[in-house]
Structures are given as C-alpha cells and as structure tokens.
C-alpha cells in the first residue's frame, strides 16, 4: 500500500514525469538526462533516484556508465487505473467484514 502511494508521489512531480518521457524511448545516462533540464544536476539526480527507488526506472551498467531506462511493467501497473477503484471497494468490504465479525445481535 505504501509502495503504491510512493509510486503516485513519484509520478505526481512534473520534472519526474518529464524524465520518464525522456527515457521511454531510449536508455540514457544521468548526465544525458540532466542536460535536458535547466535544473541543477544534483536535483535531477535526486529525481532519478526517487524514480529508481519506486522501480519506475531500471539501471543498467554499461562499462563505466550507468544507463537508465523505463520499467514498462511497473508503468503498466500504475497506468492500470482500475486498481485504485478496486482497492477502494476492497477497503470498504474489509471494514464491513471486520465490523460484522464483531456483531452481536440485539436481544
């Protein structure tokens, strides 16, 4: 559950969404990604780190360089917009179930 929230938090940021768009079609180094933004390089690195922690970006070592590319599987999971709807109902029904397990009929 927390993981999912983190993923939403990750894609809620416009810079991070722009990074995801950049690496959607090709693997790029952190430097190459940063060169597309006016933001300071460490700031962009931080964004990349957050995306990698949420598994939205995958790392790939190539010689001395680390390349980043999009994790299509994870992106698909986030794009599955029905899942939050299902979770909403699941939480409601879980609550119903736990309430009724405690239920004592009125005498």
């Amino acid at each position: 559950m927390n993981l999912r929230r983190d993923v939403f938090q990750a894609i809620a940021d416009p810079t991070r969404r722009a990074i995801l768009l950049l690496v959607a079609s090709q693997s790029m180094t952190a430097g190459a990604i940063a060169s597309n933004f006016d933001t300071a390089r460490p700031t962009v690195s931080k964004h990349i780190q957050i995306l990698a922690e949420c598994e939205l970006l995958e790392q790939e070592q190539n010689g001395r360089e680390i390349y980043y590319h999009i994790n299509a599987k994870k992106m698909k999971e986030v794009a599955d917009f029905i899942e939050p709807f299902r979770q909403m109902w699941d939480e409601r029904f879980n609550k119903l179930e736990s309430i009724m397990k405690q239920y004592k009929p009125k005498k």
Binding site: R5, Q9, F81, P84, F85, D90, F93, I99, M100
Partner: protein
C-alpha cells in the same frame, strides 16, 4: 494470493461487476446493508434515510472535520429481498455523473462464507470509465497534497 474483491470491467461496456467473498454467514453480510447504523460504519458516511422496500429511497451525507458537507448521494430502491437481492439507483449529488443502476445479489457459499455480486450499469461507456478513474485521480491528488505538505514543512 487470490484477491478477495474483484472488478470485471470489459472494454467498451457501460457496466462493471464487483464481486467479493466474505468470511461471514449470508445473514450477517445482508445485515450490513440493511441496518443504517452499520452502513454508516463501513461506508464512512451518515445515513439520512434508508427505506428498505420497493419504492423506498435512501440518502447518504458525509461531512469533513469542520462540518462542511463534502459528499451527498441518494437513490431509489426498486427491489429489496432479504438475504437475496437489492436493486437500486445511485446518484451523487452536485456531481457531473449521471445516475447509475445497481443490482446487488447476495448468496451463501458455506455456513460461514458468502458472496456479493454487484452489477453497476452506467449511462455510457465514457461515464463508466470516468467513475472508474475517480479514485485514481484522487490518488494523484493525494500525492500532490502530500508533496505540498512536505514542501510546507521545509519552509
């Protein structure tokens, strides 16, 4: 792990089906839909009216911590057969979504387990998809709000 709550929303259809199996006898599951006090607890809303009969109606209202009404919904009950089924409409007030039609079927699986099948019919395919996306959009908003909270703390 098998999911307890399942959503079946076929592409291009203007309906969806929610199914859920409960570790509850059928009577207790139905009771949770029949008793307004219990509905209030699990739906997290105030029940202003709940007339469990054909031609009956119901009204829900939710307020925030400051007492501002944040959610209102109502509907008409078409069929009410205890431990078997409820057919009703559902409409969010002050929202852009048209009324929807809900068929709820309750069945017993074993002495201690039961199943609810909820078929919801929307005005159009587009309406259904919009309603489906609501919690997704709220998730995004929550993420935005959380970011805002974090930023505010940094100031």
């Amino acid at each position: 792990m098998e999911l307890k709550t399942k959503i079946n929303a076929g592409d291009g259809k203007q309906e969806l089906v929610i199914t859920r199996e409960f570790d509850l006898p059928l009577e207790l599951l139905f009771k949770a839909y029949e008793d307004p006090e219990i509905v209030e607890q699990w739906m997290g809303t105030k029940v202003l009216k709940l007339e469990n009969k054909a031609h009956g109606g119901y009204r829900f209202e939710t307020s925030d911590a400051n007492g501002n009404v944040v959610f209102q919904a109502n509907g008409t009950i078409h069929e009410f057969v205890p431990n078997h089924k409820i057919t009703r409409t559902f409409e969010m007030e002050n929202a852009a979504f048209p009324v929807q039609l809900e068929f709820l079927e309750f069945e017993s699986l074993t002495d201690d387990t039961s199943k609810l099948t909820m078929q919801i019919v929307y005005k159009s395919v587009a309406c259904r998809d919009q309603v489906l996306k609501l919690p997704f959009a709220q998730g995004l908003n929550m993420a935005h709000n959380r970011l805002q909270d974090i930023v505010n703390k940094l100031k």
